[in-house]
């Protein structure tokens, strides 16, 4: 009986470990799931229409936070609310991982101020 309990706790520990591993987003899965996004945000993540933000090379974690904000209604945008509401937490990680991995035109302000080198 004691053995069974040990085995169960081992199993539980393993299950927990594997979910944390799964929590890492996959670029490949993200690419598949992001097809809907391409219409506005561009296949390369660099939206041509200036009203839509460029996503290519944006911080992974930031993109995840934003998608969750659209999903739970904290940030309101009629188009994005519809898109994000169908996504699972795993979908969000994958999509954010995909877009953040693309070649970017974005940068921080470092080096762009007057007097910066």
């Amino acid at each position: 009986m004691k053995h069974v309990a040990t085995l169960i706790s081992f199993g539980a520990a393993l299950a927990f470990a594997s979910t944390t591993l799964l929590a890492n987003g996959s670029i490949e899965n993200g690419k598949q799931k992001a097809t809907t996004c391409f219409a506005c945000h561009g296949v390369d993540g660099n939206s041509v229409d200036p009203q839509y933000p460029r996503l290519a090379g944006q911080y992974n974690k930031y993109l995840q936070v934003v998608l969750h904000e659209y999903k739970d209604g904290q940030r309101s945008n009629p188009i994005m609310k519809g898109m994000a509401s169908t996504l699972s937490a795993q979908d969000i990680e994958d999509i954010a991982t995909y877009f953040s991995s693309l070649p970017t035109k974005l940068d921080t302000l470092k080096g762009h101020l007057q007097g910066d080198k």
Partner: protein, 107 residues
């Protein structure tokens, strides 16, 4: 008299042309306004204290998106403690100038 009227029209047209150019946003004026932004947006990988996530890269971002974002913070439609405070101090022209400057890098 007709000449004077024509001249008046020309002056009015020139004036109008100038203001519409201004309406597109002045990069040079924008560059002077972004010093404040650099405290967070100028540090690669810098993370918000609360809630905790990286501050987005804004250089090279699309112009109209930046304008919408700042107006969203200003009107309270989009919420973020620091950004709400920053955006309320900006005029509509300031916002256009900042967006013109930041978006100019990707073109």
């Amino acid at each position: 008299m007709t000449r004077l009227q024509l001249f008046g029209l020309a002056v009015a047209a020139a004036f109008f042309a100038c203001t519409s150019v201004h309406a597109e946003g002045d990069k040079v004026a924008g560059q002077k306004l972004v010093y404040t932004c650099a405290g967070c947006h100028g540090v690669p990988g810098y993370t918000n204290a609360y809630p905790q996530y990286p501050v987005p890269k804004i250089v090279g971002q699309n112009e109209q998106y930046l304008i919408n974002a700042l107006h969203g913070y200003k009107s309270g439609e989009r919420k973020h403690p620091t950004m709400d405070a920053q955006a309320t101090s900006l005029s509509d022209v300031d916002i256009q100038n900042i967006a013109a400057f930041l978006s100019s890098f990707a073109k």
